[in-house]
Subunit: 413 residues, 2 copies
């Protein structure tokens, strides 16, 4: 299996500024991996609000259930993330592990366990030995510093080939506020279940309900519009924390997402989510092409999303892109199987702006050499015009390569 960095990795990694009220520390607790960090502790100041969105899986992990139960009950003082073990499908012992981890963290940070948030990623079905956190979290609480963003992004990786961070600075009222995010992506190795985990922090003074609204609307066209293989983890977690520290420099306290003063912040917050989500697609297992599916002319946006997802998850479309083939026949197939309104004879399809099919048949002006050349690009856009209405949507995915099968199937041999 290749451990080389994805050829689609961003070439520039941003400098991550400090966020007042957040300190970070990482450790190698030996959960599963050797010779690398696998625990992250984030310590937040009193008054930090929290919001979260989670996997829609009917079989969620124990940490997902823990976080869901704690949201809306107060603030957040600590976040504990471990890689190497997902604490998923671990029955009663899974719940015991979350309770124990939260109580160890609460003691380390001097807060209530209800103010501790948890996320785990790694092997599924193996009991997580939470006693390994004993001592470790106490030490980390003492070591936590404001600038440890890259170390934090590295500690939460599983089969990711690069750490994923994003940042934005924006005015809220007359004060400068900052948004920092980190994510880990969809990768699977050994019997490890990969997971999308993402954490966003800001010093803006936002109420929990404001933060929850921003997260819920922000996720729709970012993290929810990315697919690697159509498989949904039991553990997907996106948490946002707002320390409110910028109030000291004059940032207004915001208690509803509709507040007009929040406009620039909302845009920047969404940009951070979009940046992280795109990095997840760029680090899809075995990915060699970043693929953007744009559907327009659908009856509704929801219909456009379903069609885009049908194309993005089609193994035949994805293998064709891996083979650098503008196989629009397979795109037609994937549009047709989505079950959404579509009229074959109005359909047109473009690859990187070159129209290959229109009005239900091959475009007569289609130049095979030109299309072949564009398919060699690392980024491929498939644009599908349905010609029915004004519904439009966009999703990101990657190609399906033999490397994907090797990563997910060969580990036993």
């Amino acid at each position: 299996m290749s451990t080389a960095v994805s050829p689609l990795a961003p070439t520039v990694v941003p400098d991550m500024p400090v966020i007042a009220g957040v300190k970070l520390a990482t450790a190698a607790a030996g959960i599963r991996y050797k010779g690398r960090t696998d625990v992250l502790l984030a310590v937040m100041d009193k008054g930090t609000t929290v919001a979260g969105v989670f996997t829609r899986s009917k079989c969620p992990s124990a940490p997902v259930e823990w976080c869901r139960a704690k949201l809306g009950r107060g603030g957040a003082r600590a976040l504990v993330v471990n890689s190497g073990n997902a604490n998923a499908f671990t029955g009663k012992t899974g719940r015991q592990a979350t309770t124990l981890t939260a109580s160890i963290a609460a003691k380390a940070v001097a807060c209530s366990p209800n103010e501790v948030f948890l996320a785990s990623t790694g092997v599924i079905g193996e009991p997580l030995d939470a006693t390994k956190f004993d001592g470790v979290l106490g030490t980390l609480a003492g070591q936590a510093v404001p600038g440890e963003w890259m170390g934090a992004a590295r500690a939460i990786m599983t089969t990711d080939t690069f750490p994923k961070v994003a940042t934005a600075t924006v005015k809220l009222g007359k004060a400068k506020v900052t948004i920092n995010g980190m994510a880990k992506g969809a990768g699977m190795i050994a019997p490890d279940m990969a997971t999308m985990l993402a954490f966003v922090f800001t010093d803006a003074p936002l109420s929990a309900s404001t933060l929850q609204s921003l997260l819920k609307s922000g996720v729709e066209d970012t993290f929810n519009a990315v697919t690697i293989d159509g498989d949904t983890s039991t553990s997907d977690t996106l948490l946002a924390f707002a320390t409110g520290a910028a109030a000291a420099s004059g940032a207004p306290k915001i208690s509803r997402a509709g507040d007009p003063r929040l406009k620039a912040f909302t845009k920047a917050f969404r940009a951070v989510l979009a940046d992280l989500a795109e990095q997840v697609a760029r680090d899809g297992e075995g990915a060699r092409k970043l693929v953007e599916i744009v559907v327009e002319g659908a009856t509704t946006k929801a219909s456009a999303r379903k069609i885009a997802m049908s194309v993005a998850n089609s193994p035949l479309v994805k293998t064709a892109i891996a083979g650098e083939d503008a196989n629009w026949g397979r795109v037609v197939m994937a549009v047709g199987k989505a079950g959404e309104p579509a009229n074959r004879d109005k359909l047109s399809i473009s690859f990187n702006g070159i129209r290959v099919a229109r009005s239900g048949a091959r475009d007569p002006s289609y130049d095979e050499a030109e299309v072949s050349a564009t398919m060699k690009n690392p980024k491929i856009q498939i644009r599908i015009a349905l010609g029915l209405g004004k519904g439009r949507d966009r999703v990101l995915t990657c190609d399906l390569t033999k490397e994907y099968v090797a990563i997910n199937g060969d580990y036993r041999s």
Copy 2:
């Protein structure tokens, strides 16, 4: 690309008996392939009834639209199938090609074009030059003989690695009647769009509506319960023809599917469909394992089907099986993402009868060596017990190998 016969191919090929009232002939018309047959003409006696079920794609091929329009308008005298070109997404020229093909066949067989049924499989989006059938179909009508079943099954293949036939003989009243079927499976090559095509013939005297009922109910747990990669062809077609010739030897004429005299026939008809459908799964592209997903204890059968399909189409489950890993964590994931009622803490999962998970956690008696050994079998059964109700279902699929990616992605290089 490998052209070796699938290791999952049946070891015994049945002798295909004659069906009175059906004659078959094949030719090499040079539609796309060189050095192999690519056209099948079946000629049926007057009085033959016909029924059909088709792809649910919203972008169906021209022959699918042709057949849909002709069903219920009378009998069938001819079936023309070509491989090499699917006549799909070909716009107006596609409709012209079906009309021309039917008129050539009608002249050859001396019937109305409305009594001609058509199916095409192969490349999508390329105009089908139906003038190639001129002359060819006339010659075939003269050459057609009752025994050409294996030749017919070979002429309709695309990336199939073996011809697929099945047969059953059963009593209808006091007469012996026969059911013969052939199919081609899910394979994709070059820009060829593969397609499931299947044709079933019987000499039983059944009304068209009886045949349609049998087909509709028979397909549900056979062809509709098979998936290779979750991608649905624009051209999937299953046609059934009943010549009624067995009436001469005393078989009663049946005009409704509920007729009690039809019990044994219904069972045999379904067995032929099930046999063909299983052969399609056994010849999935790159398949090395035949995989049966059994879901029980669901709230309903429909819910069990959705969960079984979610598992069967999961790339992560399929790659794990390719890697001979009983990765039940991925099965949990796929159950969880199906969106159907499931209770993690009641779930149990077995591989080939060996229970690996129960009550929401790893089975304590789980013997890794025993499970590893069973995963080396060419047939893998995953049994998922949800513990919620009495809903039960079963689907067939195959594993996802690097060979699949090679077949579908490497053809350009």
